[in-house]
Amino acid sequence: MTMARSELRRRAVRAGLLAAVAIVYLCLVGMVQAFSTRNIVGGNLPLSRILLLLPSAVAASLAVRPRVRGGVTMELNMGEAAGAGASIGLIAGAAVAVGIGIVNLIGQEAVRGVFNAVTSALMLTLTLQRSTVVGTAILVALSTATGALFALAGVLAPRLRRPIVTGLTVVLLMGMLQSVVRVMLVQLGLATQWLYSVTFGGLTYLGAVASFAAGMAAARLWALRREAAAADAAERAEAGGRPRIPRAMLLVPVGFVLLALPALLGTFLSAVLGQVGIFVLMGLGLNIVVGYAGLLDLGYVAFFAVGAYATGVLTAAVNSGSSLHPGLPFLLAVPIVVLIAVAAGLLIGGPVLRLRGDYLAIVTLGFGEIARVLVTSDWLKSFLGGAQGLIAIPAPTMSVGGLHIDFRNPQPFYYLALGFCLLAAFVSWRLANSRVGRAWNAMREDEQVAEAMGVSTVRYKLLAFACGAAIGSLGGALFAVQIGSLAPSSFVFFISIQSLAIIILGGMGSIPGVIVGALVLVGLPGFLTEFAEYQPLIYGAVLVAIMLYRPEGLIPNVRRTRELHEEEVEQDAWLEGVPEPAPSMTLGEAVE
């Protein structure tokens, strides 16, 4: 069944306006201009131009998706979709054109007084380096065409659409991560000229086609594998046998890549991965507190600080700013650090046992700040170095057959971080699938009833705080090793937010989600320095978008998906309103 004209028009206008707002916003915060030098494909497609067209593309492809209304699926035919997409692109393009007009009318200087990103460079970027009128016209035309094309893609069957979208995504990623991929290829002794242009930096046309094809092939293979897996599972269910290829076998290539990465990436990129590792630990730890036990902790930075400072004090051998410098070897210090963190977890967990939801969030937020104030304070200055912080924290070292390894160097550091992350992931995984995990699930859903099942909520809340603190402190310990000196200003609220954003993006309660979340939110700005400036902005946008469209995160945990997608419940909403039985005689009524 097709959709009513008027509804289609309304939907297109709304999507077009949303895209327009997104584009104007990206221009005004300076992101478009910041990305104008990163060529993705050839010399004519920098990231800035993609950014100008991306909102229309996304809005168009989403706006034409089939909807279910009153039990009937409403689909658009190709013509309608193209038309709607074109209007979406046109509206978005026109909005930019109007913007350009306004700026020219009032004058750049006047506008810059409010929006300092509005420079002549930006105006040139927007008009594609041409005269205002011609450039604007081309931009509007491009925007319209993009809208139409992506709307067409939006109504394709998923079997066709997925490979195309994957192909385009791969091209975009290959272009964005050009420096990373190039370094890897060079390390492997492979030629890069065919893939990346020497003059422009981005993908060559051949490279773009190859990437697109690779993306399509990967999507197709993935689909085939899933079909095979489904068939296999069905077969197994009948035969009652084990899977043909044990799951564990799939881990071998993954493990191999993980071990080879530092050699492939070189020093700078390994350092970024080390940073990712620290935040994987933070994410895994917070995931236990928030994702498993459902206790919203906004002061998680406290455990990061405990881990870092405990490591600093315990391993320092010379006067580091603390009057204590026992000079313990790192590996001996770590268990003590974890114990201290567990104590801190219990200390923070204890007073907030009776608090829930927003109250808990506010109080933990306070604890996070207290941690920062304590490490800054003169009171603990002789132990923690006060405002000056700690210096001269030694890097753990190791000698293997005459080879001296210093774990502050990015590549060895990566392995240290990897080891900690694997340990933490294993512990999280075991916890989630144990009695403890089930108790946390029950507690998260209904504390009182969990008690009636015999789940001691006091004990399990404390356990969640202790486990979360232990894992987070490992992140802090790594941080101390990585930079060798600690300043109170490193332990700010933003660390808590970052950790929370990672688990929200990845999906609460999901271990792979934490890894993906950390890669996207910490790794990407590290790989692409242009992004670094917009990190908080991207965090905000990501959080809002995820909460609105995919509250279960990118790599969801099965249960969370059930918790967050309430349509199912809505469908059965009538259940709640089961008519009160006509009470033949109930006590209450008779008495009154």
Binding site: R435, R438, A439, N441, A442, E445, D446, Q448, V449, A450, E451, A452, M453, G454, V455, S456, R559, R562, E563, E568, V569, Q571, D572, L575, V578, P579, E580, P581, A582, P583, S584, M585, T586, L587, G588, A590, V591, E592
Partner: protein, 262 residues
């Protein structure tokens, strides 16, 4: 509110409807002169209740008379300000809820309160949380699925999407998975269509016949008394009547005040 229902009578222990004299039986669960407060608000006043092994006892009372509070007091959610609760002659008031549960009391809460995002199976498994005997748990699960065959088809369905009647069954199954000595039920008929109410009470009777002692709280007095051995009537936090179910059904004051007859 009619004042004339009379003074609290001593619970007539062991005088079952069939008239068997079992006078020297010991109560499995006993509330001895229990008073409960929420802060300054007094809710229960000197409540005495005795429940004997193998019986169904019911607690009847109007809205806000303190029925749920009675169960909460037994389970240790609230601590009595006076008096004590005894399970098999041991004082359990003052213990944590989890400890009381471990000692063999479990509850089907008011409004069922399922873990609505978990599957039926997960709900049932959580009921057995404090048990460790895997084999026995599996056997009990099987038994419960025999009692509630409907649940077997819905084992992997999200509990929150079940119909009201099905939810009540899961709630009962979940409580039974703990293999309790005493099963507390808070208004199992609430929100159910009359035909379902009949079914639920029949199941309660069946569960009892399999050996579980039951203490059921109800507003639907007729229904509760039709399956119970003995009943207590609670009025503004005080037990005003306590007798065998049969005598309560025949009690003229009771008929006038609670059973809808004039």
């Amino acid at each position: 509110m009619s004042d004339g229902v009379g003074e609290q009578t001593t619970p007539t222990a062991g005088t079952r409807g069939d008239g068997q004299g079992t006078g020297d039986r010991r109560a499995i669960l006993e509330m001895r002169d229990v008073s409960t407060h929420y802060g300054l608000i007094s809710v229960l006043r000197h409540v005495n209740v005795e429940i004997f092994p193998g019986e169904i006892a019911c607690l009847l009372g109007g809205n806000a008379s303190g029925k749920t509070t009675t169960l909460k007091t037994i389970l240790g959610y609230v601590k009595p300000s006076e008096g004590e609760v005894l399970l098999e002659d041991e004082v359990v008031s003052g213990m944590d809820t989890t400890e009381v549960v471990r000692r063999g009391i479990s509850m089907v809460p008011e409004n069922r309160r399922l873990f609505s995002n978990m599957t039926v199976k997960e709900n049932l498994e959580l009921g057995a949380y404090q048990r460790r005997d895997r084999k026995a748990i599996a056997k009990d699960m099987e038994e419960i699925l025999e009692t509630f065959p409907r649940l077997r088809e819905r084992l992997s369905q999200k509990a929150g999407t079940l119909s009201g009647g099905e939810q009540q069954m899961v709630a009962m199954g979940r409580a039974l998975m703990a293999k309790p000595k005493v099963l507390l039920m808070d208004e199992p008929s609430m929100g159910l269509a009359p035909v379902l109410v009949d079914q639920v009470f029949k199941i309660i009777k069946d569960i009892n016949e399999l050996g579980t002692t039951i203490f059921v709280v109800e507003q639907n007095a007729n229904m509760a008394l039709s399956i119970a051995d003995r009943g207590y009537v609670l009025q503004t936090g005080q037990v005003v009547l306590a007798d065998t179910a049969q005598s309560l059904l025949n009690n003229p004051q009771m008929r006038e005040a609670y059973l809808g007859e004039l």
